[in-house]
Symmetry: C2
């Protein structure tokens, strides 16, 4: 049984189409945006099913590559179902919350924001898209973002390995 | 040094007014709402500072008392600052995200929702208030909620102990 299979063995059966996400993933990414210096980061992301009810808990943390200082963290929940196949709700340490719907196709999912809301001191973000693809034990994701008056564009790209 | 003090020793200095929250808390609560049967639950809540940047990561899980099946989980971030002293962003496994501002007074904080947003399959919630008070190693909280067309009222009350 694969590590995904072992982790999923007690999970809700509705989670089967999202099972490819389950695991602890570590790797590296790059960030860019017109308003900031490009940067490289290391990341750990954890996708944990259930318990019991049909959801996957998600949390991640990034640190700056080499220097190592903490950069970002966020956490939330992926839920199967809805018209598009999946939903994602996320809270971020930057004071941002997002509600997404996601289209699942094989071992890919594309989450598109339906709502982005900000705490009073957060930086303005208006739209986010998160595309995740898993091949074997490799996860690649891209995050698109419209923020601080800039057009919608790629902000993050990363490649993680299931550990 | 108290357990809170030990946990806070590497935290960002801006977190000092919120240090009373830091720790792992376990205890029991009761839930009620006009649309459901009253219920009792056990809870674990964890408030972890940083690292590095000024925020407290928050996550909790509840299970039904006695029967033990999982009921709820949520996670998010508390940020110091803003006009009211604190902000809170939360994502819930029920498909709900909340943005709150909070008034801090001694070892109490009252978070009031500024935005509540729902995934397409979530139950309708329109307003939430979360009041937390810590005395020594005891945390008491109440959660008020306006949901599914019902007036704003107490939904949850719990008493937790720092472990």
């Amino acid at each position: 049984m694969s590590r995904t299979g072992a982790s999923m063995s007690r999970a809700h059966p509705d989670l089967a189409p999202l099972a490819f996400l389950v695991g602890t993933w570590r790797g590296r990414g790059t960030g860019r945006y017109p308003t900031i210096e490009p940067f490289e980061y290391v990341e750990e992301a954890v996708f944990t099913p259930g318990p019991g009810k049909p959801f996957i808990a998600y949390r991640q943390r990034t640190r700056r590559a080499r220097a190592g200082e903490p950069l970002h963290s966020e956490s939330g929940y992926i839920r199967p179902g809805g018209a598009d196949g999946a939903e994602l709700v996320i809270a971020q340490m930057t004071g941002i919350v997002e509600v997404h719907t996601g289209e699942v196709a094989g071992n890919r999912v594309c989450f598109r924001s339906r709502a982005v809301r900000l705490s009073p001191t957060a930086v303005e973000v208006s739209r986010v898209e998160r595309r995740i693809r898993v091949v074997g034990d490799t996860m690649r994701y891209r995050l698109w973002m419209a923020a601080v008056g800039q057009p919608f564009q790629v902000h993050l790209e990363a490649e993680l390995t299931r550990v």
